[in-house]
Symmetry: C2
Subunit: 236 residues, 2 copies
């Protein structure tokens, strides 16, 4: 799933619940140039061997992992330093403050998560089938949701709120447009989008409590009903 096993074991960090670390790496480790930092990596050695020194990207990566696993509060510089095998002294060379790190990590996540979700949908042409495909897609990218779920919990922080706002707004708008193209009028589309997105958000929250305690098959059946309720085959 878009993350090579080699990368997965490149850093001997702790691998916790549900392989969430893999997801964060999936988001981050595709080291796009990232403007200023690490600009002139000598193009010789891959990141595998010469990774005793860290870059800002490594810190952002670790931040996203920890964020997905244990929430915003767990993104603490000393904890991250331990995780990366260094000390705070390292951190404060790359970032001015803890908030700066979270900012950077979130910026990255926001950019990458966007395309990852939307791109595979845009290929489906039939509008109604597209809505269904969207729901199916989202429902199975469970790794991508951990970050969003963690963010939701810290939405009262001034640092997090705008991110959640933007992301939610964009996603709701996208789903609304999908429903519109599927033939619903403006308000119906908006309401179904709200309903669908709310149900999505609620589900990833409740899933952490293990509340909708269901097997894989039950989950699939749930998604089928979910789709059928929101955009039934029968009607039209």
């Amino acid at each position: 799933m878009s993350v090579s096993p080699a990368i997965l074991q490149s850093q001997p960090g702790v691998f916790e619940v549900l392989c969430l670390g893999g997801m964060a790496r999936c988001f981050v480790l595709q080291k796009q140039p990232v403007v200023g930092h690490t600009a002139k990596m000598p193009a010789s050695s891959s990141k595998l061997e010469s990774r005793n020194r860290l870059s800002a990207g490594d810190w952002e990566c670790a931040a996203l992992e920890t964020l997905a696993e244990s929430g915003v509060g767990a993104v603490a510089v000393e904890a991250l330093a331990r995780r990366l095998g260094v000390t705070k002294g390292s951190f404060y060379w790359h970032f001015a403050t803890r908030e700066a790190l979270i900012q950077a990590a979130l910026d990255r996540w926001e950019r990458d998560a966007e395309n990852e979700v939307l791109a595979p949908i845009e290929r489906v042409t039939d509008p109604r089938e597209r809505v269904r495909e969207l729901i199916r897609q989202v429902s199975h990218r469970r790794l991508s949701h951990a970050v969003f779920a963690a963010l939701l919990k810290s939405v009262d922080l001034a640092l997090i709120r705008p991110v959640v706002e933007r992301v939610s707004q964009r996603r709701i708008a996208f789903v609304t447009e999908a429903f519109r193209q599927a033939g619903f009028d403006r308000t119906a589309a908006a309401n179904r989008a709200r309903l669908a997105f709310s149900a999505y958000v609620g589900f990833i929250q409740l899933a952490q409590v293990g509340q909708p305690r269901m097997t894989h098959d039950e989950f699939e059946a749930y998604i089928r009903d979910f789709i059928e309720v929101l955009i039934p085959h029968a009607g039209q």
Copy 2:
């Protein structure tokens, strides 16, 4: 709405965002004997005048208010002490630890919130109309949701998780049963209950971000669509 103004102004505490304080008071201030504590209030003066000394219940009350307003993290003993106009010395006479307070406050909330939601529904006899009434009821008790929303955010804490688990489990079971009685088969009822409850949970989360930014009328329309989607008049 189900909370007498008299109670609302019985304690001149700070009244913050959205009158949330009123809700907590609504839950708490109906001072049921509460086992051991405050057993022999001399039955003379109401809580209005002789409230210079505090009881355990007062602390639980303030805890729930703060919880609803600012989350579990804000339920700090020194902060609560300031809010109540006393110091920590008072607190540690009533409770052994901070967690004990949260426990007590949550126990209380769990008991009271249960009946408050379910009781008014049970009067409706027609099964399908009962589901609709349930949705309507819940959708308008917005004050009661702040606590639950706050709890969801701290669900990783060992103190909170079991509460959220119990409450979610019970509520989902209740809604499932309602759908069953409305004529849906077992799995359909379960899935619609999951969907409805997830949508509810997601909505109260997103509402805090002001994301489904909608007017009162839009909200009403949303609830109508919500009902129509989940338990349509047309079908059967």
